[in-house]
Amino acid sequence: MDTPLKEPNAEVVNQHTKQQWVYSDVVKDHFFHPRNLLLDAVAPGQFDAEGMVGSPACGDVMYVWIKVDKATERITEFKWKTFGCGSAIASSSMFSIMTTENDGLTLEDALKIRPQDVMLRLGGLPNRKIHCSVLIDKAFKKAVNEYFRSTGQHARIQVDGARVIDKRLNITDHDIEEAVLEGAKTLEEVQKKLKVGVGDPDAIPDIEQLIRFYSEKYYG
C-alpha cells in the first residue's frame, strides 16, 4: 500500500502498533498521568511565587507555583494546574519536568525554554495546537517576575511589552498590534503590511499568537 499523504494536522501514528491518536505517545502519557500537578490547597509561604495566564473564555488557563533555592536560584519545586485541551495539560506537565529535572534549572536557564522546546520533548503537537496551548512558559514567566519582585530584584523583571518579534526587521509586538487594529486578521494580511517573519521564519509562531491575541482583544 502507498504511504498515505501526510497532512499537517494528521493524527500521530504509533510506528509499532499502527494505532492512531491525535497526539504523540508522550503527550498521551502526560495527559493521562500529569506530573507535578498541584492537588492540595496551598499553605501560606509554601511556595515562593505564583503566576497565572489565560482565560476560560479563550479556552486555556495555566496556573504555576514555584519554589526557588535562594542561593543557587535553582527551581526546587514546580507545581501547576491547567484548564485546557490535551496538549495544554501535557505541555504544562512536560514544562514542570524540564524545569525541575537534574536538580532543577536556574531561573535564568528556565526562562530560556521556548514553546518549541516543550513541543520537541513532547514528540510534536498538531500544528494548530502549538500557539494556543503551550502557554505554561508565560505563566512561569509571571511567577518568576513575582519572585524577582518579592526578592527586591526589580531590574530583573521581564516585561513583555515592546518585545522584538522579528529580529531581522526589528519588528515588535506593538507593530503587530497596530497592524491588527488597521484590520489585518491573518498572518498573510499582517505580512502584507509589515513583511514580518518573511526573513525570520522562526518568528512565525509568535506572530500568529500575537495576531490571535490582538484580534480577540479588539474584535472579540
Binding site: 476560560p56 473564555a57 479556552g59 485541551c85 494548530r128
Partner: protein, 430 residues
C-alpha cells in the same frame, strides 16, 4: 492496554452505512450490468437512468412532492449552497436581502457571508432565544420587499433544538398575501433538514417550505450524497455547470450507486422514524437526567423537550471539552465538543454562543448524539464513566466558573499582562 469496543455517540456528525443500504447499492458498484452513464441511450444507460428515476420517486413519495422536484447533489453542504447561492443569484433582480439565523450550519452562513461580501447582498441573521429558536415575530419584522430568501434550519445539529418551521411558513405566507405576492414570487423559505431527517416528518407539502436539504450520510446512507427539494416553479441558478444533468440545476454524471443508497436510506429512516424516535427519547432523557444528577455544575444546552430524540448537549463547567473527549475515547466512547480546541478554525461553537452562553460554556460543551446502535446499556456505561473523568479534569483545572451565567465572554486574550477583567467570577484554587 485494554481495547474497549466503541460506543459511538456522534451520530450528528455522521452515521454508519446501514447494511440494507449497502445491499441496495452493491449492484451499482459491482455488476457489469449497472455501470452505465444514465445519459446514454443504450441499454446500460437506460438501466442506470431507471434506477435514478426510481430513487427520485421513492424520495418524492416520502417528501410528498413530485419526482421532478428532487435534485441530487454531492452533500448536504452542496444542497445548502445551491439553495442559498442559487436562489439569491437567480432572483437578484427582485431584491438582494437574505434572512437566516445565528445558529445555522456554516454551509448556509458562509454562503450568505460570501454573498454579502462579494456580491452586494445584505444579510439579516436573526437572533435566537435561550434554546436556539427564532421568534416568528422577529422573522415577520425582518421581511422586506427586497427579501428573496429565508433560510432557517429544521433542527440544530449541535444542540438539537427543533425550530417551528411551519410557523415561519405562515409568517411568510401572510406577508406575501399582504404584499400581493404569489407562491412563485420571493421571498422563499429554505430549510436545512439534515438533522431532522429520520426524526421529523419531512412532508414538504404539509410543511409548505420551498426548498429543503437532506444529507445521505446523516441517515445511515452513503457519504457524498445529498438532496435538495426545489418546489416546482423555482429556478435556482446552478453553481455547477456542465452536461445539464439534474434538469440543468446540477451538472455532473450522476452518482448512481450513491443515489440508490440515499433513497434506500431515506425510505428506511422514514419507515422507522416513529418507532426509532419513541425508542430514543427515553434513552436521551435518561442520559440528560443522569448527567445532571451525577455531575455537579452542568447545564443542558438546547430545549428540554423541543429537541431531536437523539441529541444531548451539556456544558460541564470548569473543564475543557477536548480533554473530556480524549478521556471518553480512552473508555471507548465517541462524542463531540463545541470547544475551540477541537475545531480546525479554533473558534468555539457559534451555536452555544448564539443561545447566550459565555465562551466558557462553549469550551465546556459536550455533545452525545444517539443512534440506531445505542442501547440502554451504552447510556449506563457513559453515566458510569463520565463522572470520574469530570472529577479528574476538575482536579487539574485551576478555574471555577459560577453557574449564574453572568460571566460575560472575555475580550481579554490569553497572554494578557494583567488578569482577566471578569476575574471576579473565577476563584483560583488556593
Amino acid at each position: 492496554m485494554k481495547t474497549p469496543s466503541t460506543i459511538y455517540l456522534d451520530h450528528a456528525a455522521t452515521t454508519p452505512l446501514d447494511p440494507r443500504v449497502k445491499a441496495a447499492m452493491e449492484p451499482y458498484l459491482d455488476a457489469a450490468d449497472y455501470f452505465g452513464n444514465p445519459s446514454a441511450i443504450y441499454r446500460l444507460g437506460r438501466v442506470a437512468k431507471e434506477a435514478l428515476w426510481e430513487a427520485r420517486v421513492t424520495i418524492s413519495s416520502i417528501l410528498g412532492c413530485r419526482p421532478e422536484e428532487i435534485l441530487f447533489t454531492g452533500s448536504g453542504t452542496e444542497s445548502d449552497n445551491l439553495a442559498v447561492l442559487g436562489i439569491a443569484r437567480a432572483y437578484k433582480a427582485k431584491g438582494t436581502h437574505l434572512i437566516t439565523s445565528t445558529i445555522e450550519h456554516h454551509a448556509v452562513l458562509h454562503a450568505m457571508e460570501h454573498l454579502e461580501k462579494k456580491e452586494g447582498f445584505s444579510v439579516t441573521a436573526l437572533p435566537v432565544d435561550e434554546y436556539g429558536r427564532v421568534a416568528p415575530k422577529d422573522l415577520a419584522a425582518a421581511l422586506t420587499p427586497e427579501t428573496t430568501l429565508v433560510s432557517l434550519m429544521f433542527a440544530n445539529n449541535e444542540i438539537g433544538t427543533i425550530l417551528p418551521i411551519a410557523e415561519y411558513v405562515r409568517v411568510i405566507r401572510d406577508w406575501k398575501k399582504e404584499h400581493g405576492r404569489g407562491p412563485n414570487e420571493a421571498p422563499f423559505l429554505h430549510t436545512d433538514a439534515c438533522q431532522a431527517a429520520g426524526y421529523i416528518d419531512l412532508n414538504v407539502t404539509k410543511l409548505g417550505v420551498d426548498l429543503l436539504t437532506i444529507n445521505g450520510s446523516k441517515i445511515y446512507g452513503p457519504k457524498g450524497t445529498g438532496v435538495l427539494y426545489v418546489r416546482r416553479g423555482l429556478r435556482p441558478q446552478p453553481i455547477i455547470f456542465g452536461g445539464g444533468q439534474e434538469m440543468g440545476f446540477r451538472s455532473g454524471t450522476e452518482n448512481v450507486s450513491g443515489i440508490v443508497g440515499l433513497a434506500t436510506a431515506l425510505r428506511l429512516a422514514h419507515e422507522e422514524r416513529e418507532a426509532e424516535s419513541a425508542r430514543l427519547v427515553p434513552l436521551r432523557d435518561r442520559l440528560i437526567a443522569g448527567i445532571l444528577d451525577r455531575v455537579p455544575k452542568v447545564v443542558l444546552n438546547g430545549h428540554p423537550t423541543e429537541r431531536l430524540p437523539n441529541n444531548v448537549n451539556v456544558s460541564i463547567l470548569d473543564i475543557e471539552g477536548e480533554a473530556v473527549l480524549l478521556y471518553l475515547d480512552e473508555d471507548g466512547i465517541s462524542a463531540a465538543t463545541g470547544s475551540a480546541c477541537d475545531s480546525a478554525s479554533l473558534d468555539p461553537s457559534h451555536v452555544i454562543l448564539a443561545i447566550g452562553r459565555p465562551y466558557e460554556f462553549a469550551h465546556a460543551s459536550i455533545r452525545f448524539t444517539l443512534g440506531r446502535s445505542t442501547t440502554a446499556a451504552d447510556i449506563d456505561y457513559v453515566l458510569e464513566k463520565l463522572p470520574p473523568i469530570v472529577q479528574i479534569l476538575r482536579q487539574i483545572s485551576p478555574v471555577s466558573i459560577e453557574m449564574d451565567g453572568t460571566v460575560t465572554g472575555a475580550k481579554t486574550a490569553f497572554v494578557d499582562m494583567g488578569r482577566p477583567h471578569w476575574e471576579k467570577n473565577i476563584k483560583a484554587t488556593k
